[in-house]
Symmetry: C2
Subunit: 411 residues, 2 copies
Amino acid sequence: MSYTDLDTPMRTIMTPGPVEADPRVLRAMTTPIIGQFDPKFLELMNETMDLLKYAFQTNNKWAFPIDGTSRAGLEALLCSVIEPGDKVLIPIFGRFGYLLQEIASRCNAEIHTLEKEWGEVFDPEEVIEAIKRVKPKLVVIVHGETSTGRLQPLEEIGRFCRENDVLIAVDAVATLGGIDVRTDEWCLDAVITGTQKCLGVPSGMAPLTYNERIEKILKARKKIERGLSEFSSNSRRIQSNYLDLSQIQDYWGPDRLNHHTEATSMLYGLREGLRVIKEEGLKARFKRHKLHEKALVAGLEAMGVALFGDTEHKMTNVTCIKVPEGIKEEDIRRTLLEHFGVEIAAAFGPLKGQILRIGSMGYSCRKENILKVLGALEATLIKYGAKVNRGEALQTALGIYENVDQLAATV
Amino acid sequence: MSYTDLDTPMRTIMTPGPVEADPRVLRAMTTPIIGQFDPKFLELMNETMDLLKYAFQTNNKWAFPIDGTSRAGLEALLCSVIEPGDKVLIPIFGRFGYLLQEIASRCNAEIHTLEKEWGEVFDPEEVIEAIKRVKPKLVVIVHGETSTGRLQPLEEIGRFCRENDVLIAVDAVATLGGIDVRTDEWCLDAVITGTQKCLGVPSGMAPLTYNERIEKILKARKKIERGLSEFSSNSRRIQSNYLDLSQIQDYWGPDRLNHHTEATSMLYGLREGLRVIKEEGLKARFKRHKLHEKALVAGLEAMGVALFGDTEHKMTNVTCIKVPEGIKEEDIRRTLLEHFGVEIAAAFGPLKGQILRIGSMGYSCRKENILKVLGALEATLIKYGAKVNRGEALQTALGIYENVDQLAATV
């Protein structure tokens, strides 16, 4: 068997991740390797921490990536904070809530869940009532649930937790950098994200931030590994070595205590992705995601495609549509991919086969991509015999974009 | 604070990792993202598995990367195999043996260790005697211990384990792709490596392989996560979700069960690094590492620098030298880096300040790098007043290279 030069097709990736990486990020990743303790590399690590604080909207001391994909970041936080028997409350409104439950259960937490039908979110009061009842050490909750395209309001829950000395950790994997996530203002103790969605960076890192309330727990559970100092034992030690935030913090902090070998090229890429975000500005970035969502949604509605879920709690960067009667969702996805080079996503669990999910995240969230997916979807639905309003989707979307252009021109 | 374009110095990285990435690998990493379930990406994943089997010299069914740095691979294997109370034997002959102990202890293993003074390796008989005494479920051992530059012979130990139904897992992070590692022939049940050393790929992935003896344990401990299927409980469940090999295997296998989002660009890079290895050929690659070691060692000896440790068990890709009397090792390293752009490594634990470690791994293992480090080191030692045989190192190394060229020319 011979292995050819990498020869991948060009794709327009309109899924909820991984999405297209910003070309600037990919170019940054070709920068030659420098050592992990090279003074220049330490400078880049520090800059990345600062840039992350901007993206997380936080003044926390700690913000750094875990070298692994998003769930590595979730597990790092959970296994570093949860001790066996700790009460953890997990409000679940889709697949990724189950993942939090799965990870927390492997940390031997005493888990309490609340569940919502897929497609809905929690009224903050429901969660607050559960917190009063359960009195958990920690609440863990998803911000943007890509499996249903729904966004959970967090501010009231965060404030209630802070006032009542309960910790709250948030899975913002799908939202950070595309949808407003106010770590400090919403009183979130820890926020975890991934690189492959709204940050425009390839999958492989999980940036997170946490405050001094979390740091206090890490300090109490700290155990320096043998070979670096005398054997230190701690009955409260964190169950993972690789995902031990107390150690990773010492590697990112001024002590530079050797833990892993930081993923050099991914760090270059993350820094560049964050620099792009800083240059665009978070506000402008959220506005861009809203604009393209507006064009996409209006186009889909004009086409006659039914949207899934309520509008009020819709994520701006994920749009779920109902699969038209009599058509197989696989046929739609396959045709889009094979003929148009457009990738959209299937669904999980109870929604599998019922809905399709269109992402508009980070670098993928661009006018030409929105127009391409609308045009390709219309042709695909017509091919499979769906009743659509021919030609309307693109005219409607173009109208929205031109309107914005005119508004901008008259300012 | 403004963040400039990435502007890193060019370095000649002669440490035991991370070392220079092959430019072909860095170029491959700029390939645009495609989705994790894109048919083309699945093909690339399968090719990477095949290429890994070549590098691991195995016919095992399973060989894939963990998305994390080397120790993520070590922990994935250990936490997936070790159950609380399992007897694990760890022969330790340097820092990375302690790391294995550290990780295994967090899996609640009953740990038995053997220790050697740093700089020595175990006589296989010593380990075999300990296996007879302890009767462990698993032996975990480092192949190439970069903290001392020593290579542990594994064949006899592996065969004894196989004959006596004991499992053996090997940390080949520093050796695979640069030094012979015969997974099948030596009867190794699991072998773990990292990308940032002899594979010539940036840090961030930990390829591993394991056989059906390990797979049987994974199968017994398997627990499919909720949200993907009905809740499955298993009292023997693996303590990590991210590093759960039974789940990661289902993601790499034909079921393609969603686990993490594979690190796209790193996978492109790994495949290219492995393709480079296949093209060069393992035998030629090991020979290249030996040749450059020969030139480096001869040059150092000609210079009058003392080597650390015995010759018989020296790793070909790590050369440890004693810090000349009266000179601070930091001064040597700083001068090399600041003035010559050459990075070599300090030492850990009992050897800190006593020795310096020079790596010659993967893409960094090239004639111009060997000559550069010799020339730069001589100048640096002279600058700090060490007594060296001026001018001898490079003449000796050149002599070795020219001799090889002549041999090649006369074949």
